[in-house]
Subunit: 387 residues, 2 copies
DNA sequence: AAACTTAGTTTATTGGATAGACAAACTAAC
DNA sequence: GTTAGTTTGTCTATCCAATAAACTAAGTTT
């Protein structure tokens, strides 16, 4: 095995990435600005910028204001140099976006999903993706990739190992899509892409250690540690829905007892409501709470407390800068927020509480689909860097 | 803020590190071997090796066997180019080692600690470290650093924020030692250095994702993720002893309820034994179990089950390649192992169980002190790289 | 208009990696 | 003993990215 050794090409790639990232973050920027910002020599910046312009990733946008000298030529990233497709494959819906390289949404589609059979889903998914692709404007790089979030375990090869709510096992989703469209495809767990979405485009922007808790039918988690998505040994992790919070609690179908999601998920809420004779889904319960139904409000508070128990654990284990509640339950924020915060404050270690913020998804139901697009964009930039 | 940009010096540092690591890993090695192994040109390797020889970090050890041509000149790392001091500052003991740069123990000392007052501990610690330093043979780099593991929370500045069992708060241990000895000092939590010790010198060698569970009076954890020690936002994390496994369990002094260490630590064992009128410490209980005392054996099994509950959680959250039981309770391995494994197998997700191994500290009570020395050695290599 | 400022390019230099030539030192075959 | 072939490690000329410094361009201030 050969380690990647250092040579001049590596340096150029590194410095090009530094320049590009500066432009991405702080555009519009002049060459002189970049030189000062990065510490690179003006001549170096000029040369690297020229390369980026040649590759159509950067363009000049006219002159900026002078402060007593020659006017600077401002540069910006050409966000429309390429486009990405993001797909959120839900249990009973399909959501897709077409974004530019900055994550600006160009087109969006949703579709209810009735069938969960892999073949049927493929049959719907293919034209769904194709329609998004058809809307892509002409651009130098075209569609740079397709990112997909799925409600299940995914291995490094993009195979859906197990998706209980779809009843999928060992479905080679990446290969299937890759064969159809001939462009890079990235598959990941719904909570992982949700975490990425919020960290890049949502309330989690710039936070280096955060835990995204996706509270839907079940509970999933995406871990951002040191600004990177953490994946365990097999490429999947974050099954914190099956963190046991009651060692001798109710048995879970996973084999464990007292799993968190038995107490704190949408499913748990609906079951609890059904016991009290309140039928309907989350929407109906939210409406009831809005109408002043005290029993329902208490149910939400109870969910908040149960979420708090698990989140206190998470805070103690990871000492993150933020814990972010995402997915459908984030809509119940007003009804769960106080109970949740109180529980966490009671139960988490003081030293860790100092730094942690309890946040709610800013992108709402779009966290996952935006994160899916972002994985495709990020993979494109990685390819650029090594080319 | 200026990002570290790429220049030729960076290349040289990178490649020097690659060469040195190859020699560290696979010595004895010839220049030709290194060239083939790393992909670096022969001339480049020659030049970099010469620099390393000039810096006394590498030496030639004579010729190797020929396979039909000129005999190779074999190279090895000069492990005795410098030495490191590792200190395990326990609640009632002090353990110290002097190691060479490869972690070979040159000298070792232990001392009982009766006083826990910071000033008293300093009074004992200073001469203790000095005696280890006095045993150092002459070498080009001398003592490259002092690593210390402490039973408490440590911030990035090496201040012991809180050590409940020593009753320490905000003790600037690094500064104190640094002023005395004038060499780099690194302070970290006992479980963190224990994890490092086992990952570098013990049973965890080469494992990229592992969780070290230090089971002593309390329970601490060290997380090795992607081959690196994970530290949370504030520089400390892994307070998994206060992972709640019973949402409505016994209140813990940390504010939470049902904390893991209330059920699975040495303290929990001793309290349980005291209830049954069995006095004494872990040693006595181990002797009783050895003598066939069924009640005591059951107590150990119960600890094993409680450990298993928490470890199943850890496995589900991190999907690590190994979970490693360390510190004092690792001595009870035979009495807890079966109950622990069965509990984990029942409770952890199947997908995660496939890859996880349940291991026991190989260095026993030396995990922490060896890890402490290793942190000093690692910091030395980092300094080398940037110089 | 002269003096000063700032932006961006050009030029000569530095320094690390490299390919390929080479000398040294060995083995193997005859 | 001679010759051919192999392997090791060094030497040399070359390449290339970054850089400092000089320079051109294009403004503002007095």
């Amino acid at each position: 095995m050969t380690t990647t050794t250092g040579d001049q090409a590596l340096i150029k790639r590194m410095n090009t990435a530094i320049v590009l990232e500066a432009i991405l973050r702080d555009a519009p920027l002049s060459r002189a600005n970049i030189s000062e910002l990065t510490g690179l020599n003006k001549a170096t910046v000029s040369s690297l910028v020229q390369d980026l312009i040649d590759h159509q990733l950067v363009r000049e946008t006219g002159t900026g204001a002078s402060s007593g000298g020659r006017k600077p030529v401002m540069l910006e990233f050409v966000a429309t140099a390429g486009y990405a497709v993001g797909i959120d494959l839900g249990v009973n819906y399909l959501r897709g976006v077409l974004t530019d390289l900055r994550g600006a949404v160009m087109a969006e589609r949703t579709l209810p999903l009735n069938e969960a059979q892999p073949e049927e889903v493929f049959g719907v998914l293919r034209p769904f993706v194709q329609e998004l692709i058809d809307e892509t404007p002409a651009s130098p790089f075209g569609i740079v990739g397709i990112g997909v979030g799925v409600p299940g375990l995914v291995d490094r090869q993009g195979t859906v190992l197990f998706a209980p709510n779809l009843d999928w096992r060992d479905i080679p989703l990446r290969d299937a899509l890759n064969r159809t469209f001939g462009i890079p495809v990235l598959i990941d767990n719904e909570a992982n892409v949700g975490a990425i979405g919020e960290q890049k485009y949502g309330i989690g922007r710039g936070i280096s250690n955060m835990v995204y808790v996706s509270v839907g039918i079940g509970i999933g988690t995406g871990l951002i540690l040191h600004r990177e998505l953490y994946k365990g040994e097999s490429g999947f992790s974050g099954e914190m829905g099956h963190l046991s919070i009651e060692a001798n609690g109710r048995p879970c179908r996973c084999g464990n007892r007292g799993c968190w999601e038995l107490y704190a998920s949408e499913q748990a809420l609906l079951e609890r409501a059904a016991e009290d004779g309140i039928a309907g889904g989350l929407d109906e319960l939210l409406a009831e709470a809005e109408n002043g139904n005290a029993a329902v409000r208490e149910m939400f508070a109870e969910i908040g407390r149960s979420l708090g128990v698990g989140i206190a654990n998470i805070v103690n284990v990871f000492n993150p800068n933020a814990v972010l509640i995402g997915n459908r339950m984030s809509r119940a924020r007003v009804w769960i927020e106080d109970a949740l915060r109180e529980t966490v404050e009671q139960r988490a270690l003081n030293f860790h509480l100092r730094n942690v913020r309890l946040l709610y998804a800013e992108l709402g139901e779009r966290s996952a689909v935006m994160g899916a697009a972002e994985t495709a964009i990020a993979a494109f930039f990685v390819r650029l860097r090594s080319a």
